[in-house]
């Protein structure tokens, strides 16, 4: 509570000088949400995930992702490493099926599990609604590299979201998030994410690259490169167990 009061006091003091209105901040966040939703479109892309872990070394994996958010359908096929090629995760509503091509068997898996133990959580691949969970506390104009951005400080409006505080750097021009910082309940920086470039497909912006830096464990980082982005309609036959089996033949 004390912390919040301090932040409030500081922001009140700064208000007449730099600050943009909180209301404007909410509008920007709303745009950010809209920019990153995939409603109305299907999406397919290839993700290359490189994780650097000081104790486990460097790991590379490549996956194909297909999603139809309107119908709550999601399919992911592993391409690399070779030993895991063809393993598939098929999600329809809340059911997640895992396929092992070696035994040609499916199994039901829980949604909660971390995605391949990287710094990226499952939630990073899903739709998120910042405006529902966060209040904008402070907005100010800032520079990030060569970009003019708004730096938006947000605090969670309930105590059940993972990160109680986030700071976003959003381009003034297109409302694209370039950088975000996630903070813990004790106001410690946990994770810094960078989104240095985007692809615009239909009316949705999709980051080409995402870099997640673990701010607690030194030298721990995950880089996700997204390529072969397509928003073409995907056939329903794709989101079936039969397809997952077929693609492995």
């Amino acid at each position: 509570m004390k912390k919040i009061m301090t932040v409030l006091a500081v922001s009140v003091l700064l208000l007449p000088l730099y600050s943009i209105s909180i209301e404007r901040g909410r509008e920007i966040i709303n745009e950010v949400d809209e920019n990153t939703t995939f409603s109305g479109i299907d999406l397919s892309a290839q993700l290359t995930i490189i994780s650097e872990d000081p104790s486990d070394g460097i790991d590379k994996s490549k996956v194909l992702q297909f999603r139809n958010d309107d119908d709550d359908k999601f399919l992911m096929l592993i391409v690399e490493p070779v030993a895991q090629k063809g393993q598939g995760y098929l999600m329809i509503d809340d059911n997640l099926w895992f396929y092992d091509p070696q035994s040609r068997k499916f199994s039901h898996t829980s949604m909660k599990e971390q995605f391949n133990d990287s710094d990226a959580n499952n939630s990073d691949f899903q739709e998120s609604s910042l405006i529902e969970d966060y209040d904008v506390i402070q907005v100010e104009e800032a520079k990030l590299g060569s970009f003019d951005v708004y730096k938006i400080v947000m605090e969670a409006n309930n105590n059940e979201v993972t990160y109680p505080k986030q700071i976003l750097w959003v381009t003034q021009k297109n409302s694209l998030v370039l950088k975000s910082e996630d903070y813990s309940a004790s106001d410690r920086l946990l994770r810094t994410s960078y989104y240095p470039s985007y692809t615009k497909a239909a009316d949705t912006f999709i980051p080409n690259k995402m870099i997640f830096i673990d701010n607690l464990v030194e030298n721990k980082k995950t880089t996700i490169t997204i390529s072969d982005i397509s928003v073409k309609d995907l056939p329903d036959s794709l989101f079936t167990k039969a397809y997952v089996e077929r693609v492995n033949n």
């Binding site: 391409v79 090629k85 070696q102 898996t109 590299g145 297109n174 240095p196 397509s230 794709l238």
Partner: protein, 494 residues
């Protein structure tokens, strides 16, 4: 000469009948306690051996040096950062078998999985991957099959469920799982990711209640567990990074990251560059999958542990040292440990309790022996005047020594034998009545539900011989004092 000696000794004993009986009864009690105590110790030792070394640990085992947290039941350590098998297994096997003391060896694989049977049946299994022929040769009585049979000898797939796991399936599914049913095992490893295997239930076994940490152990064919553990022959570890990917490694500079682009070129507008033209193209997305088959080929010599059974369990510690010396000399990154190091918590607790038990029995034995000694010392001390008289009438020192020795031997042997008989009777009564081990730990210690001490022949011999030797020593000491002083003095004493 010796005949006379025996007669004199015998007459002496009869003359001091009351004293003889008193000393004798003490010796009898001592010998009886030694026999019973030794037999208890033997039974407990065998109980632990039966439960562990002859059931699943062997006398010693060999494991990869990088596994720090060793457990033959399950070690997270052995799985968390890639499967760690015994390096150069065949060579290690050869080294171990080159020792004459080594009786048998077998490999063991470990794993964890969740299991599903049909739609509803769910269970959690701890897996032992074994070679059925060498495993059953090493532990002929180790696996107690309740239903069906052990894993097929020809190495074909299968699982032998523990009673507890089978019960779990039955509880969750609402019906009894049968031999011949198939179940799905799911697990995850760092090499080949998540794995699903379908296996046929070949049998149901039971380790018994006593070894509570073994109750989830189910046996599976070695090939299936290797696949589940990601123990592959061709480790394609080469990290294949493209140039741009290499550039992305290491520290991130915010300035660099955000100065390359500007608002104008921050995003590229895609006109859909997807190569997929029609729906059939989706079917060939993964392309050739033959490289996967090579990557997944299992290493047939990958084992987490090499278990070793010795001809004589007593050699365990010395053999561990010998094998470790040899492994080090050959530069193999593996270490041998005595069975107790890997046998799990119940074994450690039971082993400690058996040590406590044995120490206390030894203490009791020592106290008994010392009290016998003391009584003998007192009894001989009482005879100072008698010894003096005998010396005065011309008996040689040697004669007196022999006489007393003979007397003591006669007492200890006679009453020792009675003690042995009483001890055996006690043990037989114990065996017949049987002490029920109501407590799981007692069951481990005593090797079964009902405690029936075995009668140890070696214990009988050691008891009688040690009491005799101690008796002679105890009586000769005061005699030597008596002989040192002059006959006259001795007569006046005591």
């Amino acid at each position: 000469m010796s005949w006379i000696l025996v007669r004199i000794a015998f007459r002496n004993l009869r003359e001091h009948l009351a004293k003889t009986l008193i000393i004798g009864s003490l010796i009898m009690l001592g010998v009886m306690l030694l026999v019973v105590g030794n037999s208890f110790m033997d039974t407990i030792q065998k109980g632990i051996e039966k439960n562990y070394t002859e059931n699943y640990t062997g006398d010693l085992f060999i494991v990869n040096n990088s596994v720090e947290e060793i457990s033959l039941i399950f070690s997270y350590d052995a799985m968390s950062k890639g499967p760690r098998s015994v390096p150069e297994y065949e060579k290690v096997e050869k080294i171990v078998n080159s020792f004459d003391q080594v009786d048998k060896t077998t490999g063991q694989l470990n794993g964890l999985a969740t299991a599903k049977w049909g739609e509803l049946g769910e269970a959690f299994v701890v897996l032992f991957g074994v070679n059925p022929s060498s495993y059953t040769r090493m532990f002929p009585d180790g696996v107690n099959i309740l239903e069906g049979s052990f894993l097929p000898e020809d190495g074909s797939e299968g699982i032998v469920l523990s009673k507890t796991v089978a019960q779990q399936f039955s509880d969750t599914a609402g019906q009894q799982i049968q031999v011949g049913d198939t179940i799905l095992l799911t697990t995850i490893n760092t090499v080949s990711g998540a794995k699903i295997r379908e296996v046929t239930v070949r049998g149901i076994h039971d380790y018994g209640d006593a070894s509570f940490d073994l109750q989830f152990i189910s046996f599976i064919d070695e090939n299936n567990l290797r696949i589940m553990n990601g123990m592959v022959a061709n480790n394609i570890e080469d990290l294949d990074l493209e140039e741009t990917e290499k550039e992305d490694l290491g520290n991130v500079s915010e300035d660099e990251l955000f100065s390359l682009f500007s608002d104008e070129n921050l995003f590229t507008v895609t006109d859909d560059v997807s190569s997929i033209q029609d729906d059939d193209d989706y079917d060939s997305l993964l392309g050739d999958t033959s490289d996967r088959d090579i990557a997944l080929e299992v290493d047939p010599h990958a084992w987490n542990y090499l278990l070793v059974k010795l001809a004589d369990s007593g050699d365990t510690d010395s053999m561990v040292r010998k094998i470790n010396r040899e492994l080090e000399k050959q530069g193999i990154d593996a270490t041998a440990y005595p069975w107790i190091k890997g046998a799990g918590m119940s074994a450690k607790l039971a082993d400690t309790l058996s040590i406590v038990f044995n120490v206390l029995i030894i203490v009791i034995a020592i106290v008994a022996v010392i009290i016998i000694m003391n009584t003998l010392v007192i009894s001989v001390s009482e005879r100072f005047s008698e010894i003096g008289t005998m010396r005065a009438i011309g008996a040689k020192k040697n004669f007196i020594r022999k006489m007393i020795t003979l007397e003591t031997m006669m007492i200890t042997l006679t009453f020792g034998t009675i003690g042995v008989i009483l001890g055996i009777i006690t043990l037989v009564i114990f065996r017949m009545v049987g002490i029920e081990a109501t407590n799981q730990f007692l069951q481990i210690l005593l090797g079964g539900d009902i405690f029936r001490p075995s009668i140890s022949v070696s214990a009988i011999f050691t008891s009688v011989i040690s009491v005799t030797i101690v008796g002679i020593a105890a009586s000769l000491y005061p005699v030597s004092i008596a002989l040192k002083i002059s006959p006259l003095e001795a007569m006046n004493k005591g």
